[in-house]
Symmetry: C2
Subunit: 220 residues, 2 copies
DNA sequence: ATAAATATTTAGATCACCCTAAAAATATAT
DNA sequence: ATATATTTTTAGGGTGATCTAAATATTTAT
């Protein structure tokens, strides 16, 4: 089935919202995610329901049908493969690639994505540590913990970030924190959740709970 | 100025038509080129004129203004760079890349194109031998002659093709004719313009005038 | 030079996608 | 449990891009 860019963006939004919330996506949540009006969302939901891509009942929120999930997953696959291309081949930094990949993900060609995947050596994770679904839509699962859940003395490697905003990523750049950085919890303050951490057994820094929540660690 | 995909396609069509015809582009020619109706073209021409991208007078055909030329040239630059990427990096063959590049050329990011150009080592010609305009819109000029204009005994290298259809390119594949192939005119038939030619000093084949017209040779 | 053929524009619609304002349904708070 | 707040939908409209059919302008051929 051939979808418009707008339709694809709605499917992706619904996928991401229900993944995070672990339940159906509300009209308002979708509107917020796509920076559009609730009325526009209702409009589009009717069209997507008509095309059998979503389960939609008035006032009840929406979930993706099988075909909708497939489309959303392929879109995420394309987005993340392009991000790898931009960072690994074109030497963009991880804070510059999101917007461009948002456009590239809508390019339509199965063959292109197959070849891009091969060209990049079948990467399993994108530059932010997010898993890249394979051609069948399967995600690689990896055990990971938000840094904020770790305790004094524990150590692990930074394998992903939850926030993808330029500001957050640039802040990490300024701290010299990147995927692969080894992090040890020196101390954590129960009162506000802030932490002192050690980076690669070298410098020690202080971060807020908000930052710690967005850093995903593979322990050990 | 930010343009829609449709607007960009019209500018490119006008550019290509006036380049080939060396005069203003007619409504019908544009409609044919874009497989749309003449009425739709008139509609769009009004909008493009409003935006100061074209010179348009009712019933008089259209030409591009400076900004229109700039936009069309950049689009061609992007299209051809992406074609090089697809062939050189992703190993597509020259008959498979046009459609995909038609989509990729609309991706908006100056930085992306700068980096892609560098990644590809600043190519001057695309996989069909067409010149790639530089960032300032300048095309590299190369002396070339349609094979159909060459005479018995003359030799040269195939440096470009005029036709870009899959059928034509696949036909060339089947003859093992590609860019770089050395071609010598063995004989030509004045009656129908057909030719006997030699490829790389090896096999000899017969081609029609229609084919010979679409092969561009750098003599010597 | 006028009739016929062709090219172009206008008129009037449609579709996808978006909007605001108002109405209706659902959730919440006392 | 009812009033209030919030969420969602409907109503009505706008824009960009397309279409067909009809009207008009230009070109061509006799």
């Amino acid at each position: 089935m051939k979808l418009s860019t707008a339709e694809e963006n709605y499917l992706k939004a619904i996928f991401k919202i229900s993944e995070k919330a672990k339940k159906s996506a509300s009209t308002n949540a979708i509107a917020k995610h796509l920076s559009t009006s609730a009325a526009s969302v209702t409009d589009m939901l009717k069209r997507l329901a008509e095309k059998e891509l979503i389960n939609y009942e008035k006032y009840k929120g929406v979930t993706l049908k099988v075909e909708g999930i497939k489309q959303a997953t392929q879109l995420i696959r394309k987005h993340r493969l392009w991000e790898v291309f931009l960072v690994k081949k074109l030497r963009f930094s991880w804070d510059q690639v999101h917007e461009i990949a948002e456009q590239l993900e809508h390019i339509e060609s199965k063959e292109l994505i197959m070849r891009l995947d091969a060209f990049l050596d079948y990467p399993k994770f994108d530059p932010h540590g997010d898993p890249i679904p394979n051609a069948d839509g399967k995600f690689t699962i990896r055990s990971q913990t938000p840094l904020s859940d770790m305790h004094k003395g524990q150590t692990g490697m930074l394998v992903g970030v939850k926030e993808h905003t330029t500001e957050f990523l640039k802040y990490l750049n300024s701290l010299n924190v990147k995927l692969g950085t080894m992090i040890t919890v020196i101390d954590s303050v129960p009162y506000d959740g802030s932490m002192s951490i050690n980076l690669d057994s070298k410098n020690e820094i202080m971060i807020t709970a908000m930052v710690a929540q967005n850093l995903l660690i593979r322990k050990g």
